[in-house]
Point group: C3
Chain length 506, copies 3
Amino acid sequence: MATSKCYFSIVLFISLVLSLGLLCSAADDNPRGRSEAERDPWRRYKECQRRCEWDTRGETEQGECEDRCERQFSHEQPRREGENCKREEEEEEEWEGRRQSHNPFYFPRGRHAQARFQEDNGNFWVLQKFAEKHHLLKGINEYRIAHIEANPNTFVLPHHCDAEKIYVVVNGKGTLTFVTHKNKESFNLVPGVVIRVPSGSTVYLVNQDNNEKLTIAVLHRPVNNPGQFEEFFPAGQENPQSYYRTFSREILEAVFNTRSEQLDRLFHGRQRQQGMFRRASQEQIRSLSQGATTPTEKQQSFAFNLLAQKPKYSNQNGKFFEACPREFELLQDIDAAVVGFEINQGSIFAPHYNSKSTFVVIVTQGNGYVEMVSPRRSSESSHEEEEQETRSGEYRKVKARLFPGDIFVVPAGFPVTFVASQNKNLRFLAFGLYHQNNSRIFIAGKTNVVKQMDSAAKELSFGLPSRLVDEIFTNNPRESYFVSGQRQHRESEESRGSILDVARLF
Amino acid sequence: MATSKCYFSIVLFISLVLSLGLLCSAADDNPRGRSEAERDPWRRYKECQRRCEWDTRGETEQGECEDRCERQFSHEQPRREGENCKREEEEEEEWEGRRQSHNPFYFPRGRHAQARFQEDNGNFWVLQKFAEKHHLLKGINEYRIAHIEANPNTFVLPHHCDAEKIYVVVNGKGTLTFVTHKNKESFNLVPGVVIRVPSGSTVYLVNQDNNEKLTIAVLHRPVNNPGQFEEFFPAGQENPQSYYRTFSREILEAVFNTRSEQLDRLFHGRQRQQGMFRRASQEQIRSLSQGATTPTEKQQSFAFNLLAQKPKYSNQNGKFFEACPREFELLQDIDAAVVGFEINQGSIFAPHYNSKSTFVVIVTQGNGYVEMVSPRRSSESSHEEEEQETRSGEYRKVKARLFPGDIFVVPAGFPVTFVASQNKNLRFLAFGLYHQNNSRIFIAGKTNVVKQMDSAAKELSFGLPSRLVDEIFTNNPRESYFVSGQRQHRESEESRGSILDVARLF
Amino acid sequence: MATSKCYFSIVLFISLVLSLGLLCSAADDNPRGRSEAERDPWRRYKECQRRCEWDTRGETEQGECEDRCERQFSHEQPRREGENCKREEEEEEEWEGRRQSHNPFYFPRGRHAQARFQEDNGNFWVLQKFAEKHHLLKGINEYRIAHIEANPNTFVLPHHCDAEKIYVVVNGKGTLTFVTHKNKESFNLVPGVVIRVPSGSTVYLVNQDNNEKLTIAVLHRPVNNPGQFEEFFPAGQENPQSYYRTFSREILEAVFNTRSEQLDRLFHGRQRQQGMFRRASQEQIRSLSQGATTPTEKQQSFAFNLLAQKPKYSNQNGKFFEACPREFELLQDIDAAVVGFEINQGSIFAPHYNSKSTFVVIVTQGNGYVEMVSPRRSSESSHEEEEQETRSGEYRKVKARLFPGDIFVVPAGFPVTFVASQNKNLRFLAFGLYHQNNSRIFIAGKTNVVKQMDSAAKELSFGLPSRLVDEIFTNNPRESYFVSGQRQHRESEESRGSILDVARLF
């Protein structure tokens, strides 16, 4: 009997402990208490968002739940007019980030990236492997995106990679040089310059400007392991270190025909400057820029200037430049197209999809948002691979607000559209991976795919007389490719206001 | 002491429970009792089969065990003459299916497939990913096989896929049209027509016939993720849904320059018909077929007719048509050959192997069986990947009875042969994946590989004078490629009877 | 109270058992006792090595620990002069093997390989899949390396594989023949002959010589499953077995138009010889060699002789022959280059790296060592795949002593150098995988990459006046590609002695 009492008290004690634990965790969900939440609709919206994260299973349900929170919030919007707009933007960015953390296609600036070199004079970071972000992106896992930024008057240490590379200058002015043991190539850099640096070439750069940073986006296609590449530095002390130092002393003495002491001074001596990014004197900068060629709109050896070409699409609402492997031979080994486009403020890059190529889009300037159609999946775990979960013919909207430095992936076949904000042009740089003979197929605007169909097909598809379908797809639209954000006729305050609301909602 | 008694009784009780459990499961193995099994040799054969499944480990042993059951059964065959043949066939199909459930190369009709759209007017299903069926097939995981079947006078809703596609018409009469925003291509469909629909093209079909179904096999090579593709429908309500509906209202209003109410009628109005397959009127069908070109034996734009060509092999026992990427440019992007062949009743497609290409063979008509040589592996788990389990130079027979709709995979290098039944011709459609410069190498029949060897090589290999080897490989055979199921000389009742027995055994 | 005593004693008992276990395992670490270790510095070194294996985590730390052991040992080296050098070499090889067991790039002779056929008259073994050895090698997992060795006057049974193959004759004299059902190709074999055997071709060989073994390295590129291939034998009894025996009797009778009894004699009769390697008579050998063509320095049909060409690099210290897919069409399907090079005794193949191609290097004769620069990783588990563990700009030395039969993998971009021993030339055969337009970029010797850089780049990189950098990279070196192991000037006993020490240390 003593034993049974013992057991009973142990069980009771354990259940007490569990209950306490549950109570505490429940309490944590509402740290500020009810009254404050009631007073602040913005916080109520955030609460609603947070509950969506926990209560729903999968991106599908969560997206619908968040849509409901959004609608609820928009009714209460008038109350927010008087609040501090700046704080609002910060909070918007904060929860936008959290909300988008599970968006497979969206890489907010600075997230999902690893800084390989972060120094006073510059930085070099690499975006996470695509397959590690989400299994839906494993088809482009062979490619890596990186970003170099050098301060004014800065030299970037020579290095080679085990990857094919395409450098695209986003901003700044400088010189890029690469060498093999046989030859040297040198190019002047201005925004829009595209340079192919072959795998194994030793490359170095210098920022000529006194004020501006030199910003370059680099597309890598590694040759050893899919999606994995390294930098090898011939010179350096620590971080980076010179690879010569790794060889045995005896070998270096023999191949350089030089005594140890001299080699020590070269490879082990204490240097005035450390790191991958080093200050250069004006004289050194001038000397590095001598003999560099200036890329033009046509390919000359390893470079061309994307923005010096005729744009592929252009009207008063935007411009679109594209360089494909078919016309630019230097893009063939890496099999990627380079695109630069700009959507004027308040305009839209019409809904379209790419026939073959997956585009990685990098925001370089301005802000706006993107909407994309993605097939709906039952579960959204980033490691989920079984296909039987796909529900055919059902789609969900993928959207994200875009800021400079954000990266967005548009898979082939997925309809997508980009919208610039009302007050700033929105500029992008994009790489079209596995480009081959990709075409961009527009589904709305004056040029669209439905126009081409037989009348009977339109009737059977939309269930309306083809005359009515034609009104919308053929007669009404006035512009192709880049479309004004307002309707051309019956411009009412409401329609202009609605784009604005949508922009602010995000 | 009280406690030790307590423990002892607990232990005793647990072992009693376990024993009962074991007894029960053992009893389940023989649900019908002994007497009934004794009375029915067919059931005894099934019992024998079932025991083979449980008692043996691995496909190897199980195959041998089943062979023994078969031999045992064939001795008792005379007793079955009087029974209902129809029921026999049903049962044969039933246990055949179960027996073949672990055959890595065999996909029985309707199994291992997912119906993406199953409607009154038609259906569209996709075969499981090859790598999910078995790791031995992971080399062809980039490709997917699908099947469209539309009822008479039915229209298939426009859609585009993120995959390169080859359509091959198996049966029926209709029109296929695909559009981009720039152009439209339209082709008349009859059996044998092969059409390339480029990735991203929006395609729709119509079945012109009043009685026959339109049956098409589709080979996909997805561009986003290996082995994974989706359909995107511009028009539709629910299942499928239109992708336009996914975009925000404001965007649609702006790009279509149309008011919401009009857009609602187009995208959200209640349609008379739902689904991917819709009835079309005679007038609509006529209008959809206008302007369609009829494919010929040569490639014209995106299509040709496989059966309009000269056959590659042809004699009184069968015909074989093949279209390779080298001669037909439209097959180059997808890198697959299209083959159609027919084995006349009672004939054999001589043993051969493919040098480079893996063939996916689809039975379109008739029945028969296939025998293939596969290297023997120690264990047969479908997820087993280590190679050290392979026993070099040992083979096992892979065989399967073939019915219309069955799919069989023949890897490169694996010797294989197909046999038609005595009463029906056996017809196939096949895709040769990763075709490149594949050749088909025959190992038996008048044309065979051993004939080409040096005499000394034949002697050393077979351990017989080369004269004797030549008698079998060079002198005796009369036919190449398609061989009669009977021997040409000394046609005895026995030999004819033996093929018949083999056919019935399955 | 009785119960609590009971519990306490159980707990005490368990802890006693555990303590005993720990004591025992600790004791095992030092089986020989202290005194013996003290007496023998060699054993002390081995002890030090063994502790490094257990105490450190990851190849990085272990490498540093072993370096410390090495330095400690070299101080005590004089004591070892009098010992048995032969035993020393055996022990060196033993611990070298153990030490290198986790080197991802090094395959010691006979390890990491599976013997598919091991017989009296010859053997055929295949190297492990690269991805199974280490995840760092998964980029070349499509390729497999194999090795055939046939005794004098031996015939190799005909077989075909589901893989593209390149045969390179390392040693011996013979004939290789391959057939399809349409044609036959036959080539004389001498060292340096390179032959492409297309996937699916049935190939057989004969060793013509009376004394020497015929040794051939074979590069495979499988067509069915990446890195996995099988052999199919038309003739054979058991191990290997003929694939004809796998087909049903009825099918064989019909396609060969031959009675069972005759077929039985051919496929099931007891043969005088068994196995893949069979003795051949002089007459059979002569007859097999008739009509064979002798490969020259240019490609003729499927073969050429690598060593009959002009070497790519050549001086008094070594020779280097290379055949690339660009010039030799037969290498294009398999996309690999074939290289043969020889480093004279006491010389060095100057440090260099490959721009695109991963080289698999096989030691055919002599001995020496290799040093390679590899990026440093935080953890070294062979299944580790996350890249965030890489520490950019840090390198570690990968080195291995090389003996005939050893295989070493040099990934693209990794600087590497090979050193021959003082008393023997060092010969290699190598395959450059995924060759495309690879170039070999030298980083030391008269030809080197730093020479090409701008003066300002040299100054900023090395932190020294470019005049001093030029002295080392431009003025001092006298030789390119193959460099003498001694410095050309001020040849002191010390420097010559130091290479010797390094060689012996290993």
